[in-house]
Symmetry: C2
Subunit: 257 residues, 2 copies
């Protein structure tokens, strides 16, 4: 990890499914072709953690040997914690890029705000590191990542060559299909979940609730969204930002307040 | 909570400091002047939970009697869980508005992405409910909320009268000061935290890390940011959205991929 090796890009990897997830292994394999890899990933699944960070508890970091020849650590915190800790305590030079995933399950459309995968990438981007979140639209731990490999590599190589402006990162989703038709640069589709909590009784007769939800597409037939791309077997790439200001509402609001 | 009472606005309230937080009480008091109030708040502090939701665990909901004459529940989940559960299981009509807070501590600038307060408000907005997150820039549980009251009420009344377009909500921060100068509609200031994990040894001699960070303002002297407003003793209002697409990068990226 010395500066002398600086000619190979340093690639920081994390995820939210935990260090043993098959999707992470695929990402490590592909990134190893592109540069020197460091992995700091959660020691347990952290899906739907949003951008949670751990401020009231200490964090643990433990070396992991599950990737042969790769410097890797498992961390007791959230995906965002992993990236913060990696940048401060693990990497002895700035990573050229941070990649997150490959998530088992989609992070397109409104899923981006709940996504632990994307929170890791956002965390890196806020710190000024190029960042990409990769997700495969298949929740299975036995998901087939083979069709993803070339796209993951190509998109990462492109960003290494042509860095994004500060304040932006990529949200990449890949369809569950044997034949990916191509790649589309998209906007985030408007959608929401219609909640429907399952109301149950525990063995003591007390009520508890389990979250279930139905994904509701709020879009018309526009073909420029990530949802459209995925449904039509394309890889979707949404350039994503963390400045949440709605500029269009600023003027309107100034007249009211 | 019958439809007959429908002429009074229904106001759903949550927070991330937990149901016993003084800031929540202030919000409940002020909102009671404006409409019928329902509170569903976390049963313990949930700061920095970002937009975490609970999908792998059941949730509990328990009636609370800490607000006299107010229908209130404490929930075992995150702020976003509270709102989801409130909308599905507690409210028997759609709230006219959802307000979150008043947070003990700032949620301006990049804090918005870590904020449990804002995640509750975002959750409501995604579901199509008008929403505002309120924060006082004072972490103390003994913080003085008196100067905030009139602004909280005025801003909420304004949004009840003039609803925001779908996809937007407000992030309101209030300065810690006896004399608030006024209200500014702002953009989110660019900033980040420079992490500096405190490395310690536990009683068994094993290393652990505790997150600390220094807030770094990345802005020049522009006076249109939330950070500027707060530093100059104004209330900042940032119209906030959850479509994270960076439209300016879409065209650029299409040429590269």
């Amino acid at each position: 990890m010395s500066e002398q090796k600086g000619h190979r890009p340093l690639i920081l990897i994390s995820n939210d499914d935990g260090i043993t997830a098959p999707g992470l292994r695929v990402l490590v394999e592909e990134m190893s072709h592109l540069g020197e890899v460091i992995v700091v990933a959660p020691d347990k699944p952290q899906s739907a953690m949003g951008h949670a960070i751990t401020v009231t508890q200490p964090l643990r970091l433990k070396p992991s040997h599950i990737f042969k020849g790769i410097k890797a650590f498992e961390c007791s915190g959230t995906p965002a914690d992993c990236v913060k800790l990696a940048l401060d305590k693990v990497c002895d030079r700035r990573p050229d890029i941070m990649v997150s995933g490959i998530n088992h399950g989609p992070n397109y459309s409104i899923n981006v705000i709940y996504s632990g995968t994307m929170s890791a990438a956002v965390e890196a981007a806020v710190d000024g590191v190029q960042a990409i979140g990769f997700s495969l639209c298949d929740y299975s731990m036995e998901a087939d990542f083979e069709p993803c490999r070339q796209h993951v590599r190509h998109i990462t190589e492109t960003i290494l060559k042509h860095p994004l402006p500060y304040g932006t990162l990529l949200n990449v989703n890949m369809p569950k299909t044997e034949k990916i038709k191509g790649v589309k640069v998209c906007r985030q589709a408007s959608a929401k979940y219609a909640e429907n909590f399952d109301e149950r009784k525990d063995p003591s007769g007390n009520t508890y609730y389990w979250m279930t939800g139905k994904f509701i597409n709020l879009e018309s037939e526009d073909n420029d969204t990530d949802l459209w791309a995925i449904e039509h077997h394309y890889v979707s790439i949404v350039p994503t930002k963390f400045d949440l200001t709605s500029n269009s509402v600023i003027q309107h609001l100034k007249q009211l307040i």
